[in-house]
């Protein structure tokens, strides 16, 4: 069981996550909804400890996750699988190796530096891929896949971790509706069959309604709704999405037409050609 107590993340001017307390029992499928910048992502990243909380605690099975350091922190991350909006796969490695990176925590330094994986791990990874219908791509380079395929590989990587809990940060925000359904179905199946709790950030109300046992609504870093999808009235939705009272509100407005930020390439990155040109000049100059 995951217990979050008074969890806070403050930046200079505002609190991204403001004093959140939640209990999430094993095997529950939780959807976290809210506008962009409501603190959904920060919440999930803090649970995985990719982001550091500024206050409060996260307790998993009686152990304070926020206090973990060094090797224990890595162990927690290995137990708490994360699925990202942008998949965060290693594009130049093949699909199988990407899935096998889910086993890295269990490897010694030498073995991991030389990419040594046991046959059992390879078989396990292939099985995980097979569960997501991706085993046929095992030897393909990851960046040759489509977005939906990449996300399924990312879920297979999560499965290879043998996680106790799965966090999914906007897993379908970069996908088309068809692929979004495949990915959500997969997460739901893992939740049902393996009995693993899944916490899933979602942009759209309808998805949360369709897939989750429990919906948590965040607004400006605070929990403004927590209950079964059936209790999610239009009034509650208005509060979560911060719509003005006289503004027309429909669930479809929260749907996939709202593309979240972070999908574009950051401007400061150089292109490959720029890089080559600079390097040539600098190298030839000695």
């Amino acid at each position: 069981m995951l217990a979050i107590k008074n969890l806070t993340k403050s930046f200079k001017t505002r609190n991204a996550v403001d004093n959140i307390s939640l209990d999430i029992p094993d095997g529950q499928m939780v959807g976290v909804i809210g506008r962009s910048g409501a603190g959904k992502s920060t919440l999930l990243r803090m649970i995985n400890r990719l982001a550091e909380p500024t206050g409060g605690s996260i307790i998993f099975d009686g152990r304070d996750v926020t206090a973990l350091k060094g090797r224990e922190l890595l162990e927690w991350r290995a137990n708490c699988a994360m699925v990202f909006q942008q998949f965060n796969l290693v594009g130049r490695l093949n699909v199988l190796t990407n899935v096998l990176t889910g086993r890295l925590y269990h490897h010694g330094l030498i073995a991991s530096m030389f990419q040594v994986f046991t046959p059992a791990e390879r078989a396990f990874a292939i099985r995980a891929l097979d569960r997501l219908g991706m085993a046929h791509t095992a030897l393909q380079q990851a960046d040759t896949l489509s977005g939906g395929q990449m996300q399924r590989v990312a879920i297979a990587r999560a499965l290879a971790q043998e996680p106790k809990i799965v966090l999914a940060d906007e897993p379908i925000a970069s996908l088309d509706p068809m692929n979004a359904k495949v990915v959500m179905d997969a997460l739901r199946t893992i939740n049902r069959e393996d009995g693993i709790a899944v916490i899933c950030n979602l942009h759209t109300l309808d998805t949360a309604r369709n897939y989750c046992d429990r919906v948590i609504g965040l607004f400006e870093g605070r929990v403004v709704f927590d209950g079964p999808p059936s209790a999610l009235t239009e009034q509650a939705a208005r509060e979560i999405y911060g719509a003005e009272a006289d503004e027309a509100f429909s669930e479809s407005m929260t749907s996939t037409t709202l593309k979240p930020a972070g999908t574009e390439v950051p401007a400061e990155r150089l292109t490959e050609a720029d890089l080559q040109q600079r390097a040539r000049a600098e190298l030839l100059a000695g």
Binding site: L96, P119, F124, A285
Partner: protein
């Protein structure tokens, strides 16, 4: 789809997966090839180092330590001829600046003759390129030596050496930049009825000028570095002082001079970064 754990994977599971996805377990051939390549590289390095008598490092440790100590313990600083040293450094900077400038001007002209996009005649292009290969293939220091023989000791030989070798490399880089221009922009200018010179001025130059300047700035920095050693062959600059002091075992002064040159190089590096950001920022936005 069924739940499973790594522990539950039995050898028969492995066998069945191996059957259905044989490549997933890596082929012995590729593993052996990879190891063979790594081993041969390691053997080559060890073998060549042995051939180069790497064991001499062990005998030299006492001497090396003394040398390092001599670099860091500065004595009789009042008697160092600072005037001479700083004139030498100024001369080095001047040689680098003038040499790079001459090289840039030459390359601006020659670059157009070596690029496929701007020089349609294969024969001319190839001849120009081969000459550039010769200019580049001979190191700057060798050019320095040759020019010392031709025009005598002093910074003039150094300037010419830097100019010649920079001409070779910069022309090549400039011609590469010219070959990589966006053809659509050139076509746009051509479509307005511009002649060859106007096409070069409005179609090519705006695209390649930031690259040209940026590359010349790199070369100014690198020429400063190489100008410090041109003095070794008598081609002017600080190198003469470095080698003189070195031969006289005045290692503290060598360290001082090198430190000063390093500071100059960092300053040039920093300045050219600023200029590059300003120029490229201005032209591309």
């Amino acid at each position: 789809m069924t739940a499973m754990t790594l522990q539950s994977i039995s050898s028969s599971d492995i066998a069945s997966v191996r059957q259905s996805h044989p490549q997933a377990f890596g082929s012995t051939f590729s593993t052996i090839t990879r190891w063979a390549i790594w081993l041969s590289v390691i053997f080559y390095v060890i073998g060549s180092l042995y051939y180069f008598e790497v064991y001499r490092l062990l005998d030299a440790s006492g001497r090396a330590l003394n040398l390092i100590a001599a670099f860091f313990i500065w004595e009789d600083m009042g008697e160092w001829q600072y005037r001479q040293i700083y004139i030498g450094i100024a001369q080095t900077l001047g040689m680098a600046f003038l040499g790079t400038l001459l090289g840039t001007l030459m390359a601006l002209f020659i670059g157009f003759f070596a690029a496929r996009t701007t020089m349609p005649f294969v024969v001319v292009r190839q001849i120009v390129r081969r000459i550039l290969d010769i200019l580049r293939g001979v190191d700057q220091l060798v050019w320095g030596l040759v020019f010392v023989r031709a025009v005598g000791l002093g910074p003039l030989a150094g300037v010419l050496a830097i100019a010649v070798s920079d001409t070779g490399t910069l022309s090549k880089l400039y011609s590469e930049a010219l070959e990589n221009v966006d053809r659509k922009q050139v076509e746009g200018i051509r479509s307005t009825g511009a002649g060859p010179l106007k096409i070069a001025r409005y179609g090519y130059l705006p695209q390649v000028l930031p690259i040209f300047i940026s590359q010349s700035l790199y070369f100014f920095e690198s020429s400063t570095r190489s100008a410090t050693i041109l003095g070794l062959v008598g081609a002017g600059g600080i190198g003469m002082i470095i080698i003189e002091r070195f031969r006289a075992n005045l290692f503290d002064q060598v360290a001082f001079v090198v430190l000063n040159v390093l500071v100059c190089i960092f300053v040039i590096d920093w300045l050219s970064k600023k200029i590059r950001a300003r120029l490229i920022g201005e032209t591309s936005h």
